[in-house]
């Protein structure tokens, strides 16, 4: 091997880059959070808008701060990008899990060419998988995971339904088929792109859907279960500035006791506002 100065400098720089990367890698090694169960358990659902604020800045620090402010233990995230250069090649879920010292699951692999959904959890994620949903417009996914909260095996689902009437109603039906087959206790959260009244969002020509009613036959909407009225302005989650729609929900199985539910209206890291529910597991 040549022992020229260019070679020596190349080797020197290589060692620097290797060591620097290893330091970075050590920081992202699997988390070791305190997994002692706390009651009540705080759940959050948050659509993070592919990593951007409504103004177009990268929003991850704001998302992290919002999750910390909500004191959330288990978080369902939608519109997560982990691969594309259009989100600056940032693996949003790896970054958030690292910053929050939480376990994570993201689905599906980006080779499915879907903007995925994710789960962050203070408690270990024992099993996790994803289900691709039928679609005419954008492909959509439901993730299913078992979270070990102490001795309790909590089944958690995270989803982002389609925008069109056909897509969201078909997908909601598929989602409930999977959710109903899962063991209790269970949580379903996400961006459902439907209002509790079933009306389409203002400006969209579409039939009213019955997604809210259909899901309510099997699961409890934590917003109303916590004593809030069905569709008040303080429950609106979209857009984050001047919201006028409630389309993000946390549903729980009837064996879970809902303590409280609120929308973090000060969160400006995304075009959605997050919903937080505190619950007591059976």
């Amino acid at each position: 091997m040549s022992s020229t100065n260019t070679f020596r400098i190349t080797v020197f720089l290589s060692i620097i880059f290797l060591l620097g990367s290893m330091i970075g890698l050590v920081q992202t090694l699997p988390p070791t959070p305190d997994t002692t169960p706390t009651q009540p358990l705080a759940l959050m659902t948050y659509n993070i808008y592919q990593g951007y604020t409504p103004e177009g800045a990268i929003n991850l620090e704001a998302i992290r701060d919002t999750i910390v402010a909500g004191n959330a233990d288990i978080i369902g995230l939608q519109e997560c990008d982990t691969t594309r250069i259009s989100s600056m090649n940032i693996d949003t879920i790896l970054w958030l899990a690292n910053e929050l010292n939480m376990y994570s699951y993201y689905g599906p692999p980006s080779s499915e060419q879907i903007i995925g959904v994710a789960l962050l959890s203070k408690y270990p994620i024992a099993n996790a998988t994803y289900h691709l949903l039928s679609h005419e417009e954008l492909p959509r996914v439901l993730i299913e995971a078992t979270v070990e909260v102490g001795a309790t095996q909590l089944t958690v689902f995270v989803v982002h339904l389609g925008l069109s009437y056909v897509d969201r109603t078909t997908q909601a039906e598929e989602v409930m088929g999977i959710v109903n087959a899962a063991p209790f206790p269970k949580v379903l959260m996400g961006d459902f792109n439907t209002q509790p009244t079933g009306e389409p969002e203002p400006g969209v020509v579409s039939e009213n859907d019955t997604i809210y009613e259909d899901i309510s036959e099997h699961l409890n909407d934590t917003w109303t279960a916590a004593g809030n009225v069905l569709n008040p302005p303080e429950g609106f989650t979209w857009p984050s500035i001047g919201p006028y729609e409630r389309i993000d929900y946390i549903w729980v199985s009837p064996d879970i006791n809902v303590v409280s539910c609120w929308v973090i209206s000060s969160a400006l890291g995304s075009d959605h506002l997050p919903v937080v529910s505190t619950v007591e597991l059976p």
Binding site: N5, A57, T82, M88, D91, L94, W95, Q113
Partner: protein
């Protein structure tokens, strides 16, 4: 070249020579400077494409800002600016890149400004790259890798440095945000000093286009190899510079991808200094075997998503850089003219633009262009195919030229 070179050679002791010995000018001009410029390009390209995407599709509407994509086609400017000569263009665009890189973290919170600064930086690099590849120094040492090989080593080090920054930020390059202002200032200062030394040491010590006769390359060949370069750039900026992207794409772990891609990348920068490796690079059978492996790596990335995807990607990144070495060596031997280099890099950037747009849009095809749904594997196949074919096409011609010389 030597006769003409002697007449323009400066006899004064060069600054970089006094610090780094005989190879000082080469070290700064052909390794450190391309490394810094390529690093800045990689960083700005992410911001640039990200902002175009956000301001159009992310906001669910196509706006005027989509026209910024044409800044990627900036190599076309070398045909207008070529009278300034490749060396001056390299220095001036290099200075522009440094200034814009310094500004980048300050505009991170302002989407429109970030788009403008990142777009201009990308455009400056589009002129810088063909210009620097057309520089022909008069006194290049024969004991070290050729200029084009050295520039690829600089490119590899830039990739490794970028991987390091992103690893330190858990895949977020903190140096382009507010928290990276200090690091950006240091990087920009280093790049500025390097450019100043390179300018001082090399003015009058490079051959310009007028002093060359046309080399072996045909324009058609240059166009085809430029397409291969576009394939290379797309594969690097969508996968091989991003271990997390490879891991998420294949459903494998990030740690293995990071370590293996880093090793594959750095290994190239190191072994290119070995004469035996440089011989392999010039042998058609060596290039053939390496690219046969790259085809397998492509199949794994596109179809199989094996548990070994991280390891395969690491070895693949080595071959990718080897192919870039073949393409740039061919370009260098085709006469080293600015116009050839301009065509090569213009075609390359055009392919990078289209590959990247189609790849990004294939994720949101249902909302934008349904025909693109499920399209991304085909884009990756096309990029791999163009790179492999162009490398195989260029390799035997390099050998022929070597024999003639």
């Amino acid at each position: 070249m030597d006769g003409k070179g002697a007449s323009v050679m400066t006899v004064q002791t060069q600054l970089s020579q006094r610090v780094f010995g005989d190879e000082g000018p080469v070290l700064l001009r052909d390794l450190v400077q391309p490394m810094m410029m390529t690093l800045f390009f990689l960083e700005s390209l992410r911001v640039f494409i990200g902002q175009i995407y956000f301001q159009n599709l992310g906001a669910m509407a196509i706006g005027i800002s989509v026209l910024y994509v044409f800044l990627l086609l900036s190599p076309i400017a070398v045909f207008i600016l070529k009278r300034f000569g490749s060396f001056m263009l390299t220095i001036v665009t290099g200075m522009g890149i440094v200034a814009l890189r310094l500004a980048l973290p300050f505009v991170a919170g302002y989407a429109s400004l970030a788009l403008l600064v990142a777009g201009l930086l990308t455009a400056f690099y589009g002129v810088y790259l063909p210009s620097t590849m057309a520089i022909n120094p008069v006194d290049y040492p024969t004991s070290i890798p050729s200029r084009s090989e050295m520039t690829v080593a600089g490119f590899a080090l830039a990739l490794a440095c970028d991987i390091m920054f992103r690893a330190l930020g858990a895949t977020w390059d903190f140096t382009v945000g507010y928290s990276g202002i200090l690091v950006s200032a240091v990087l920009s200062a280093v790049a500025f000093i390097v450019l100043c030394i390179v300018y001082k040491d090399n003015k009058g010590a490079v051959l310009e286009d007028a002093q060359f006769s046309e080399g072996m390359g045909s324009r058609l060949m240059i166009v085809f190899l430029g397409a291969g370069f576009g394939g290379f750039m797309f594969l690097v900026t969508s996968f091989f510079a991003y271990p997390s992207s490879v891991a998420r794409w294949t459903g494998t772990d990030y740690e293995t991808s990071l370590v293996m891609i880093l090793i594959g990348t750095l290994l190239y920068a190191i072994v290119v200094h070995h004469p035996s490796f440089r011989c392999i690079m010039k042998r058609i059978d060596g290039v053939l075997v390496a690219n046969a492996f790259l085809a397998l790596a492509a199949a794994d990335l596109i179809l199989f998503h094996s548990p070994l995807a991280g390891i395969v990607a690491g070895l693949g990144s080595f071959v990718l850089l080897m192919d870039l070495g073949v393409l740039w060596s061919y370009l260098n031997r085709s006469g080293g003219r600015l116009s050839s280099s301009g065509i090569f890099h213009l075609i390359g950037m055009t392919f990078l633009l289209f590959f990247t747009l189609f790849f990004v849009l294939s994720f949101v095809a249902g909302q934008v262009l349904p025909a693109l749904e499920g399209f991304s594997p085909y884009i990756v196949v096309l990029a791999f195919s163009l790179l492999i074919l162009s490398s195989l096409l260029a390799s035997p011609r390099l050998l022929t030229q070597e024999a003639v010389e």
